[in-house]
Symmetry: C2
Subunit: 349 residues, 2 copies
């Protein structure tokens, strides 16, 4: 079947580009001796995670326990969950997971670390815990090397935990100094920082300048999107992921309405202008989204589309798009080669 | 099971409030002799659609053919799809649906109308088509009564179609005059406008002032959200839908991080300040969302939450939230009474 025979809106992956993207980052990280631990939250598809492993990844990254459960069921046996896992029932699920595959997690507070230790004791296993460090993103993470060192000592002190190193997102200009200062603080305790996990697709080609980083977690690099186009880490020619849509209305000479809205493209903006890049009409602007309508201003385009015309859109943020669809189409040339189930979709707990 | 024993993030509906919301709008529309045709895109759950029908709705509204297929499978037999349906395969599905239940659709162009006529001919059935009119929303819809009249004549002229009236969204101050002018234009053709379908929860208590409206489509009214709170059509006491979350990090004295991000709350803003209303901390602001993290500024709150504390959030837009979850919990008091499958989730085609 040809891709243009598929009903829209439909997310489509160019498999040739996907393979090239997986291979390109793996080669780069190999060249610099940095382990690759791709984040599967972007695609949530075991078959694509397997392509990443086959290329040389050392394991995968998942953002939630439920994502990791899906991936463990699919046969992946080394899973990092860089997240503060809180709550008795969720901790019990984490421990059940840690009994069947190699799991590491992160923490940025004594509260989370104590919860992990208690649960690991109850489960009778030892869990590897990294400290999440805020090196500029101002999300989670301890605020100083002093705090990182304190929590590392707590991990070592409490039963059934193993200090696994440091984690940050994204890797930044502050990462190396943060790691070095923490290392200095821990030297007297005899605690080594062996693993330093950094992340992010926007700055993925600069990972090698951060000498402290031992492994990298990138998610979007497999697909590419407008966020990473803006960052310059992917190009229009390497973007593997597009949402195919149809023009369903041309109510005015300038306005067009697409059959893809916030339930297909997501409302993620992150400072971008408009809700996606229309490949066939680069000057057009998707200026608003209803749930099932994309509102487009074509006034800057010399030629304007007809009703029924199919358009392909590079979304602002591919991760929030894929998680809304049950299936993603893989194409080679313009032929449908595979339909992937987004197996880990809906796994937010 | 108590609701506070559920893992988070989890969307929870207060069934008492849900029932009251359904009953309240039905009574209001009954009082004014306006038919109720609720939009199920908000909840996508057949059991809730059935509650709406049991209360007195004349039928339901779906936004996509796939949503309507799910609802037809669940036994609903009068479905309105106020959407331009384009493309051979989708039209074939629409006709298959129209063979088993009563279906009406809309169109705002000759292109769409011709497609519907061709498909209806092939299927050997007659389809009811309403004209979508833009009465101020600037989304889809013909721009003038003249255009509406022209398309109404085309529907009557082409085989296997039946002119079903006018549709607009949302009902506005321009709706009545648009309808009356179109009626005047069609008088000589002997074409009656019997059905005028308006919609929207924000202005639902003013529907009766629009004398031309014969039926109303509201979606959000069952749940309520921040958009409809802003509009004043729901209140904090009637909001039936909340996302329960947990504080997983307190990296600084002012900042808190929740376990719900854009993959749970959606990034819909629509001009609102922040990504949701935290019921326990009304002064707090959810100032950013990562996929699985909600970034909250608690600086305006006298008391600030601890890690592990559970918070309940009224999202900006409940429709884009429910469509991301496979299940929604129905509670009575604080006990889980039912877990609904979001059966029509993922149906964007």
């Amino acid at each position: 079947m040809r891709v243009d025979e598929l009903e829209t809106p439909v997310p489509v992956v160019d498999i040739d580009r996907l393979e090239a993207n997986i291979s390109r980052l793996q080669s780069y990280l190999d060249e610099h001796g940095i382990a690759n631990r791709p984040h599967i939250k972007t695609h949530k598809i075991p078959a694509i995670a397997q392509m990443q492993m086959d290329a040389g990844a050392i394991g995968i990254t998942c953002q939630k326990v439920s994502e990791a459960e899906v991936m463990a069921d699919a046969g992946f046996n080394d899973i990092f969950i860089p997240y503060n896992i809180v709550g008795e029932s969720k901790l019990a699920r984490l421990m059940a997971l840690a009994k069947r595959v190699t799991v590491s997690v992160t923490a940025d507070s004594a509260y989370v670390i104590r919860g992990l230790s208690d649960a690991a004791q109850r489960a009778g296993l030892t869990l590897t815990v990294l400290i999440e460090c805020d090196t500029g993103a101002h999300r989670c993470g301890v605020q100083s090397p002093q705090e990182a060192a304190e929590l590392a000592r707590l991990i070592e002190e409490l039963p059934n935990l193993n200090f696994g190193g440091l984690m940050t997102y994204p890797t930044s200009e502050y990462t190396d100094s943060f790691v070095r200062e923490t290392r200095t603080l821990l030297a007297d305790d005899g605690l080594q920082i062996e693993r330093v996990s950094g992340g992010g697709t926007p700055a993925m080609w600069q990972v090698h300048v951060h000498h402290e980083i031992t492994e990298h977690r990138a998610g979007i690099y497999v697909y590419g999107d407008r966020l990473t186009l803006r960052a310059g880490s992917v190009t229009l020619d390497t973007c593997a992921f597009k949402v195919h849509t149809t023009v369903v209305s041309r109510p005015t000479p300038e306005r067009g309405i697409l059959d893809a809205g916030s339930k297909s493209l997501s409302s993620d903006l992150h400072g971008l202008d408009g809700y996606g890049y229309i490949c066939e009409y680069p000057e057009a602007k998707i200026y608003a989204l209803s749930e099932e309508h994309g509102h487009v201003d074509f006034s800057a385009c010399e030629r304007k589309p007809e009703i029924g015309e199919r358009l392909t859109i590079i979304p602002n943020h591919c991760c929030t798009v894929t998680s809304m669809f049950d299936e993603v189409v893989g194409m080679r040339g313009n032929e449908v080669e595979v339909i992937w189930q987004v197996t880990a979709r809906g796994t937010v707990r």
